[in-house]
Amino acid sequence: MTNRNSLVQFRSEVRTFLANNLSENMRRSCLQQASIFSDFDAASQWQKILADRGWGAPAWPVEYGGTGWSAEQYIVFQQECARADTPQPFPLGLQMLGPILMRFGSPEQKARFLPSIVSGEDVWCQGFSEPNAGSDLAALSTKAHKEGGDYVINGTKIWTSFAHRANRMFLLARTSSESARQTGISFFLVDDLRANGITITPIVSLDGEVEQCQVFFDNLRLPASALVGKEGDGWEITKALLKEERGGYLYYLAAYRQLKRLRALVDATPDCVADHHYRQCFSRLTARALSLKSLELRVVAQDDSAPESSASLCKLEGTRLSQDIDELARYCCGLQFGQTSQAEYSGLERDALEGISRHYLNNRAATLYGGSSQIQKTLIARSLQR
């Protein structure tokens, strides 16, 4: 627990740092942001700046290169980043793999991989979903069989975010098909995505951009040291990792960034400022963001009033809220919505218009990735029945 005075001082320190280090280009990239991921180059650049300051891994313990901040400091930092429109560092290494390696990784794996996540040198992607294993992840069929001292990987992964830009991947593969579906799965680290035996095919999304890829493995050889934990531990590790994914993201701040971008657009559109429908909807959406904040902060603080299914509740509500903000943004754009060229506009207004139109399309995936809304509902219902 950090006392109020220290938090005020800390906030001021963060604010000063952001003011001195965040470039105008990085801020602009946020206005154009079309998905939960920031512009890849801006995010990489920002991660390096944070790492130089010692803030590369705000939620990690000091022994692994983190800040050792309290939950309150972490929240203040994230709030200030959202207010300042910083890019968001690529989350798969920092928020998902990092905590998993700290818990399940060997000393060698920790020493080799954690520092380069913090510094931003390595960018990880996640090889989980397959064409026939989406929500039913345990149906995955990518195989890893032992050959000599190595594992040989064959199969394919799909919906792999930024595989075309990342240099490493963590993946699930089946090491046994004799036991129950879940117990035959193992967790591997691929340390070079450009190695022989890997083919990466980009997938163009509805918004015309590439974020997702399909990745094919054709006799990819991995050393035994690429296995995390023991053979067959993959499912347990994955459950822990998905908990990090669903619980570590602050949806209320994502909503805040979206609402702020919408304000920037509306401020430049006098007709909209006084529009009754806009004002009512904006007010309601902001109230929803506040209620989401109230629950997410209880989760971060590990307050016992947060229900067991909080992570699923936040994912369900957070992604739905995000799509509802998109809908209001579409309304505010009027006939400019969806136009590919906004040549008649300039600067901030054009950035916001382009970002909003693309986000509207890209964000249909929000209620699908990381466990679809249907999966979240099933998890919530199960927790009610316990």
């Binding site: 207010r83 506040l290 209620s291 629950l295 902060l297 219902a381 009610l384």
Partner: protein, 336 residues
């Protein structure tokens, strides 16, 4: 920033829930509340009460909603004492009343009146009505806070010599920036928050009933909670409950900290109560036809929730928003 429900508030909540479980008649409940001292809970300490705050308000009002105690006792035991805490100077300029769609004709519409009036009905055995055409604060103060002369025993005496009371406010067209408007908004905020927290109790009640019912009711050879369609309705219901609670509690915090004013509290409370209403509708869908009967309780929560929303919307329609801009409300999202 979230509301911390204290151990003390939880203890009070459990005692109150036990009391309401035993008594189902409104008059018996009221008498028991007085006998056990609950009527002093929100009375300021300097007036001899316990001076309970936001945490207790959230916990206690939810119990009222859960046990369908009704707006009458909510107003008398929670809202009146909280309204009485306001000590700002009275504003007494006469204003022309605005016609409002108030469900009860309180007989004051055509009179010259003050900016806000309390209809405070004290019905004794003779069932006589007493109308006090004064601003809320002034009307409440003689009852609870009439200077240092007023003490705990007098509060007891007052509660024990009246059989019930009813609170309604006639609201008038106020300039947004007048001090009268500010006062009205503060009262409005207290009433809205009490109703929103009360609604959270209703929503929790229908969730509990739905979880239990879906684990007992069998169709097609299995309990209905085995069907994914029903599970997803339950999940939506649980989300409504949790986010109604989060919204209402956030509004309590804003009131306690005096950080944001009416516009933000209004948005949060309407959000909360709308989710309560949605929860009740989902509960009926989960229960099926049985929930549409007079006999079964779930449908009655829908009536309570709809009335609560009408009450809240009425307050919002009548009170002018403050000067808070959308940007200021938005800034709250990223504040501590």
């Amino acid at each position: 920033m979230y509301l911390n429900i204290t151990e003390q508030a939880r203890a009070i909540k459990h005692s109150l829930a036990a009391l309401f479980s035993r008594e189902i008649d409104t008059h018996q409940r009221r008498q028991r509340l007085i006998d056990e001292g609950f009527h002093l809970l929100f009375v300021p300490e300097h007036a001899g009460g316990f001076g309970a705050g936001g945490s207790e308000l959230a916990a206690v009002a939810a119990v009222y909603g859960h046990h369908r105690v009704g707006a009458e006792l909510l107003h008398e035991m929670i809202c009146l004492p909280l309204l009485a805490e306001d000590h700002s100077p009275l504003v007494t300029q006469p204003q022309t009343p605005r016609a409002v769609a108030w469900p009860i004709d309180n007989g004051l519409r055509n009179e010259e009146s003050y900016h806000a009036k309390l209809k405070y009905v004290v019905a004794g055995d003779s069932a006589q009505e007493v109308l006090i055409p004064l601003p809320v604060r002034q009307a409440v103060r003689p009852l609870l806070l009439a200077s240092s002369k007023f003490n705990r025993s007098e509060i007891h005496r007052w509660y024990n010599t009246t059989s019930h009371c009813d609170l309604s406010i006639e609201l008038h067209d106020l300039g947004a920036d007048t001090s009268a408007a500010m006062d009205s908004r503060r009262w409005g905020a207290i009433l809205l928050i009490a109703h929103a927290c009360c609604g959270v109790g209703m929503a929790q009640a229908v969730l509990d009933l739905s979880v239990r019912y879906s684990a007992e009711r069998r169709q097609f050879g299995q309990t209905i909670n085995a069907f994914q369609a029903v599970q997803h309705l339950l999940a939506e219901l649980a989300a409504d409950v949790e986010f109604a609670r989060s919204s209402a509690h956030y509004a309590v915090l804003l009131m306690e900290n005096d950080t944001l004013t009416f516009a933000a509290i209004k948005a949060l409370c309407l959000q909360a109560i709308n989710r309560v209403l949605s929860a009740c509708k989902l509960a009926i869908q989960i229960h099926g036809a049985i929930a549409t009967t007079e006999e079964y309780i779930v449908g009655h929560y829908l009536k309570d929730a709809a009335m609560t929303l009408s009450w809240a919307e009425h307050i919002c329609r009548c009170l002018p928003d403050d000067a808070l801009t959308l940007d200021e409300i938005l800034a709250e999202v990223a504040s501590v």
